[in-house]
């Protein structure tokens, strides 16, 4: 009986075979057009993240939401039932700072839609350029990541980020939050430095004083753009209140900054060094913005300020090499543990363009190997990113009423050896095939 509905379920989401511990079932990729399912996963270990682990229980997904969860949650009639014995259910992971969907192959300019010309592009919106059929989408969800923030890059104001589910056939179907917030590459000191790209970069100013002056000029330029937008808003308000005052000509650049200036949406500041983080926080305070720090390699050095401002940090450098020769070898591995200890709000991200967002659990796992409690490490890629983005009422944990972004795995989600067996996104069963599984299926037959 159960097998019947499972067969239907798998048919619905394009899966052709099934066993008690079905491996990731391989078949041709079908479009992401499955209806929202009513599904009960029972006798599974339920890692809610927000509360205690339920060692054996049932979770019910219905109408795109988590409808019930508990040791004895009732299974509604007509629900498709998955035997969760030996399996663990997790909230889908969230990467809060990627460029997934904007870049297919970095070396091929024609496939790169990550940034615009010029330094100030608040009106460039990531969502409109998301490619729902990028191979990265399925490769990423294969590992249990269901939602990503996609951030534009380039210049000083890069544009508007978007939050997407890794499911759907159009950017609009994928969008969870179409305009998530403004992205700013906070101007920093250009001291040149070495590295493989040194020969290709602008030569740095010849001394520190010049470098500082150049950085300060750019910060003031940025402040000027923001102030002009605020002036524009005041002029509009004045015109609205008094018909004698002429209405300013519509300016699309300033218009796009208004939600940011009103504090309706947060501002992502890319900043790694302590002095840049401090400067970004001061800048945000000055203009009344809601800052989120992206990068945060030296965030632990300004933990007090971050905590005082209640500014979350999206750590993107856990697996990066430390920047200074005499930094401890594990300076970035243990960054998350230090921030946690200091009480700073943080989450862990790959910061990746797209192809390697699937590594998100391993970034969190490495933080756990270097001092972060494993439960906090899991939280850092589920509930914490949802909190950092102000979306913890909708995403990030297994709680009734939250979006049914749920993954079912055969072990610890942060372990590279673990396989994701099922994924549901917005309550829709997501096929776990990809460009990679397809090529694998084809070529394993060539003996």
């Amino acid at each position: 009986m159960r097998r019947d509905w499972l067969a239907r379920l798998h048919k619905a989401c394009g899966l052709v075979a099934f066993g008690a511990l079905a491996p990731v079932v391989l078949a041709q990729q079908k479009l992401d057009i499955a209806p929202r399912a009513t599904v009960a996963i029972r006798d599974a270990r339920l890692v809610t993240v927000s509360g205690d682990v339920i060692e054996r229980g049932t979770i019910v997904l219905r109408d795109g939401k988590i409808a019930a969860i508990g040791p004895t949650a009732a299974i509604p009639g007509g629900a498709q039932v998955i035997d969760g014995k030996g399996l663990t259910v997790y909230p889908g992971m969230i990467d809060a700072a990627t460029s997934l969907g904007l870049i297919e192959i970095p070396a091929v300019a024609a496939t790169v839609d990550q940034g615009e010309v010029g330094d100030y592009n608040p009106n460039a919106r990531a969502l409109v350029a998301i490619n729902p059929h990028s191979a990265h989408v399925r490769v990423t969800r294969y590992n249990g990541i269901t939602t990503v923030a996609t951030l534009p890059d380039g210049g000083v104001i890069c544009g508007q980020a978007t939050l997407i589910n890794l499911y759907g056939t159009s950017p609009q179907e994928m969008a969870v939050v179409p305009s998530l917030g403004l992205v700013i590459n906070f101007p920093r000191l250009n001291l040149g430095g070495g590295g493989p790209f040194a020969a290709f970069r602008q030569p740095p100013p010849s001394n520190i004083a010049e470098a500082i002056a150049a950085r300060n000029r750019r910060v003031e330029e940025l402040r000027q753009v923001m102030r002009e937008a605020a002036d524009y808003a005041r002029a509009k308000e004045a015109a609205a209140a008094d018909p004698k005052i002429p209405r300013p000509a519509t300016n699309v650049v300033y218009e796009s900054l208004l939600p940011t200036l009103r504090g309706e949406t947060p501002t992502f500041f890319r900043a790694d060094r302590a002095q840049d983080i401090r400067a970004a926080l001061a800048f945000a305070e000055d203009l009344g913005l809601r800052p989120i720090i992206v990068g945060g390699n030296e965030a632990a050095d300004c933990a007090a300020e971050l905590k005082a401002k209640n500014a979350p940090v999206i750590l993107t450098g856990v697996l990066d090499l430390p920047s200074r020769e005499d930094d401890p070898y594990d300076a970035l591995y243990e960054n998350a543990a230090k921030l946690h200890q200091a009480g700073v709000k943080f989450c862990i991200s790959t910061g990746d363009n797209g192809a390697h967002v699937r590594d998100l659990p391993y970034h969190a796992g490495m933080a756990a190997a270097f001092g972060l409690d494993p439960k906090e490490a899991l939280r850092a890629v589920t509930l914490s990113p949802a909190e950092a983005l102000g979306l913890s009422d909708r995403l990030g944990s297994l709680e009734v009423g939250k979006m049914a972004n749920v993954v079912v795995a055969d072990g610890d989600l942060l372990e590279p050896r673990t396989r994701v067996k099922y994924a549901f996104i917005d309550g829709r069963p997501a096929q776990l095939t990809s460009r990679h599984t397809e090529l694998y299926e084809q070529f394993k037959e060539r003996k």
């Binding site: 192959i105 040194a198 401890p328 594990d330 270097f370 942060l414 694998y440």
Partner: protein
């Protein structure tokens, strides 16, 4: 001004040297024997041995067993609950290099990586902290025929001579595809260069081997004439062709950077035509498409676990690549090609395990004995066996777990990384750094002039030597 900069550099050098060798580590190095007790020994050669001991004497693995007695002066390490893995061998590294590509010509077989090694590159220490003990140092991939490689043990902070892996067969780097044909970059100031296509890459390698064959014939003729007692002048030496003659004679391994299936077939066919065998295919992202042919040729494959999509020739890369080649009978290893990734090759192995349904031992082989076989050093390293070099690391958990961390790394029985020693010195290092930053040499100069922009003490990649990261592969 100049002397200030000099002082600054000296100061930094002192910090780095101190980081390399804390007092505790130096003391540990002195003890002759080390007994690691009650660990899980991941021997690779004979599976996992639980609750077992391993005795290191004179730099070698002297005994493996249960309840081993410690010699009188031995350091005893209680490794209960911990794991011992042979030192990880990174079959493709650009660590400790002052220069990577001689990007001017398409055939630069005369260049030797041995000449540009920096024994104080801090990334070596970071690799040791990831359980890595040996590296195959290769040139970049800017040229169809790059230069001569060097296999090293990571004896961090010691003179270069101590790094050179004893008796490791010499090799040479080749490169196929987008990098030698320069699809994605150009060296600043250089115009387009031959080759411009995969046709030209084949032709430039063929041309080199035709010349090498002629060169060999001249020397063979000379040797034969001498043998006959004739008085003949020797032919002119050719430093570009001599390494290729060694390839033809089977005395030098070819390590070939490659991506697409057809270019891999091209090189294997060319090698067979000239009577040699490609020792390793490096990266070999589409190797899975022609695994049968690779096995037949007898090349090893050194792959990435799941790196893909960064350029067109990497777009068909799949994380099942290593496993599919393994199943076809190819000896496969995983490499880093990157100082960051080198620190967690164990995680690369774990990923391949998932995608390819490997056993634990098969996964561990990818980063231990298999690269040792590929580099011709498996008699000395790559597994925990009595008589082998004591190049190994103690891990806090199974190294295929993301939660595992290296506690101690040994090379030739000496401790080159120890986490507790590292932690113990951190406060002193931080203090020293603060003092240096406040020191006279680093204060702003008189007259309101700013301090100079600090220069890198020894730039790893000077402008012009190297190019996009892509050419480091």
């Amino acid at each position: 001004m100049k002397s200030r900069l000099g002082l600054w550099r000296l100061a930094l050098a002192l910090v780095v040297t101190a980081a390399a060798c804390p007092a505790e580590l130096r003391a540990q190095r002195k003890s002759k024997a080390t007994l690691i007790k009650n660990a899980t020994l991941l021997t690779v050669a004979k599976g996992a041995l639980e609750n077992s001991d391993l005795l290191i004497e004179n730099g070698k693995i002297a005994k493996i067993g249960k309840g081993l007695a410690a010699p009188a002066d031995a350091r005893v390490i209680d490794a209960t609950g911990k794991y011992v893995l042979p030192g990880i061998i990174d079959c493709h590294s650009h660590s400790m290099l002052d220069a990577v590509n001689e990007g001017s010509l398409s055939v630069t077989s005369m260049c030797r990586i041995r000449d540009v090694l920096n024994p104080n590159d801090v990334d070596l220490y970071r690799a040791l902290a990831g359980g890595v003990t040996a590296l195959n140092l290769l040139h970049g991939s800017a040229n169809a025929i790059g230069g001569q490689n060097q296999v090293v043990k990571i004896r961090y902070g010691r003179p270069i001579e101590e790094f050179l892996f004893p008796d490791a067969p010499p090799g040479i780097k080749f490169a196929l595809g987008e990098n030698p044909k320069r699809s994605n970059f150009r060296f600043p100031g250089q115009t387009q260069r031959y080759p411009n296509s995969r046709m030209g890459v084949e032709e430039i390698i063929r041309d080199a081997f035709v010349r090498a064959r002629d060169h060999k014939r001249q020397w063979d003729d000379y040797a034969a004439a001498k043998e006959r007692g004739e008085s003949v002048p020797p032919p002119k030496r050719d430093l570009q062709l001599e390494p290729l003659v060694e390839v033809l004679e089977g005395k030098r391994y070819v390590h070939a950077h490659c991506y697409r299936a057809e270019e891999i077939l091209m090189l294997m066919n060319l090698a067979e035509e000239f009577g040699f065998r490609v020792r390793t295919l490096q990266h070999v992202l589409e190797g899975y498409k022609i695994a049968r042919e690779i096995a037949k040729h007898g090349a090893g494959a050194s792959a990435f676990a799941d790196f893909w999509s960064y350029k067109v020739e990497a777009y068909d890369a799949i994380p099942h690549d290593a496993a599919l080649m393994m199943r076809a009978g190819v000896i496969v290893s995983l490499n880093s090609d990157d100082d960051g990734r080198a620190r967690r090759l164990n995680m690369e192995a774990a990923r391949v395990m998932k995608y390819g349904d490997l056993t634990e031992n098969e996964a561990l082989r990818l980063i231990t004995i298999n690269p040792a076989i590929q580099l011709g050093i498996d008699r000395r390293v790559g597994s925990l066996e009595v008589g082998k070099d004591a190049d190994l690391a103690i891990w806090t958990a199974h190294p295929l777990s993301v939660y595992a961390r290296v506690e101690t790394t040994f090379v030739d029985g000496e401790v080159f990384f120890d986490r507790q020693a590292d932690l113990a010195q951190r406060a002193a290092l931080a203090k020293e750094r603060a003092e240096l930053e406040a020191s006279e040499a680093n204060r702003p100069q008189g007259g309101g002039a700013p301090p100079p922009v600090p220069a890198r003490r020894r730039p790893a990649y000077a402008a012009g030597d190297n190019c996009l990261q892509m050419t480091k592969e």
